[in-house]
Symmetry: D2
Subunit: 177 residues, 4 copies
């Protein structure tokens, strides 16, 4: 979705408005599956940073990304912002898969641990988010970021706030691991 | 550094290698001032996401950014990854300003709180990072993200690891606030 | 409130029920001032761990504690749980001071950085919590832990959920620092 | 290890010095197994707060605790400091099990999510910590807190610093989950 020549890239994205309207009418899992199949537009930031939703099921979402030079910080490795963006996406979507139509969420806080440097030699990374607890008002999730050899580059947790208008408290997915 | 027409942007960035070599030879504050003045290349990710270092002094760094549609998530607001990227930059650089030449650092973990949604109507945001503690092996910093009316959009803390080859433990900047 | 002889202490605490009932009827600041003056019982855990509320005002609460051998971990320093308990108290109470009668809160998450070891030689510690943002549903706060020479031992942030039954969203205390 | 009559408890603990000396001479797992078997003294804070190490193996440690009135905050539930103390213990010990004799660690930061209130009706809680990454200088771990019906009350992550004098970087336990 972006063409690279030398140190120039053409980034194209789609109007996020139709997708965000669909998000209100569909259950989270249905909505995210439509994005994964390309039937609804991806997030503009996914086109900007070149990552995409590769797997989604109830309580789980996986994003893929190939780190490149345009993700670099000034000290010679990929900027931590890339991993944060992938973690926020994977965990937010993992929570979203658990929400019925008409129930919205927002990320309240995010905590990321970086375990080793990422470079343009790292190759494709997968960021797997999993819901831990989805309650009436609060949901939490966790994520791991690893390469194709299953080497771990970082992990994260998040807290989301859930907006259930008029709906009762419920609790899902909180069994012992 | 990026031209926008409709929903297409041409992103251009510079080779990060010369800058990262300079980072090894200069003290952190000197190095970051050279970036702020445009004498050394900015981070490629700063060109990609359109943010820049606007102020830097000992223990403090401020980045500016105007949130745009290409920063959006699929649910109609700016993706949390933008704030995370700004926070990581501001706090990492605030720590970096306290390090002499030859001393490197890496971010170990980052914790972000999001207080209100950011949209393309929000206007210019400033992300101010401040070092809290710079010790022999560990440094910590905090940051705030606010708009031009000083409305607060989020705050963050970070832990960095410091690599002092052969140098003694020291402690700076840890007085009561 | 506890007598120490050799490695034995008698811990006495008060029924927390009357205090928690008062908490529902009083505004947060009024309630906490009554605890600080000794007119309402302190938390049982404060008697157990020997810490107390020493200062409280709108948006700010300070707890004091003298670390002792009974706070130790098995590896020769004070257990991190003591600092966490002080941080949770100071930040929760800082938020509570901003809440009117009838509005409850609960701590959703807590993040603590430990900067240096605490021992029984450290002397009296003060843990100062300050509200950062108090919104309609979410509040955040931060805290610092320092000794009488203003040496910093740790810092923390927290997210609380606010339960305003039927009350409108409001926003306080979010100016730039 | 503490006798309760009405709202008074006699707390007795042991000198932590011999145990902390043993900690330097034994590998972490061997040391913690000696504590679990009662051959080395538990942490004084474990006697104060009434919790104990119930299981320990490579990369994993479980603490048990029965929440009681003396753990209460002033607003009618168990204080968050109890969960934090259990999390810090379980995660620190999970990391410690991976360290050979002569290698020390310290907790740099801790992040806790609280999912539901704990009361004296909750019954026995188990806090299970697991190492995620044990590197040359940094280790991370996670933990869950649940009751005997496997209901989840909270979860946490931590970052520890490892002090390997003269030893090489190594990496353990970082496979994909």
């Amino acid at each position: 979705m972006g063409e690279t020549t030398e140190r120039t890239r053409i980034v194209a994205w789609q109007d996020p408005l139709p997708g965000s309207e669909a998000a209100r009418e569909l259950g989270g899992l249905e909505y995210l599956r439509a994005i994964a199949r390309g039937e609804l537009p991806a997030a503009p930031i996914a086109d900007l940073m070149e990552f995409s939703l590769s797997e989604v099921e109830e309580g789980r979402a996986v994003f893929g990304c190939v780190p490149a030079e345009y993700h670099y910080n000034p000290i010679g490795t990929v900027h931590g912002g890339l991993a944060c963006t992938l973690f926020d996406s994977a965990m937010g979507c993992a929570v979203h898969t658990m929400l019925p139509a008409g129930v919205a969420y927002t990320t309240v806080e995010l905590k990321v641990n970086f375990l080793r440097p990422i470079t343009s030699e790292t190759g494709r990374l997968l960021c797997e988010g999993k819901a831990i607890h989805v309650g009436g008002r609060i949901a939490t999730a966790e994520a791991r970021l690893y390469d194709e050899a299953d080497k771990l580059y970082g992990h994260a947790t998040t807290t989301c706030m859930i907006f259930r208008e008029g709906s009762k408290e419920r609790s899902v997915g909180e069994s012992r691991r």
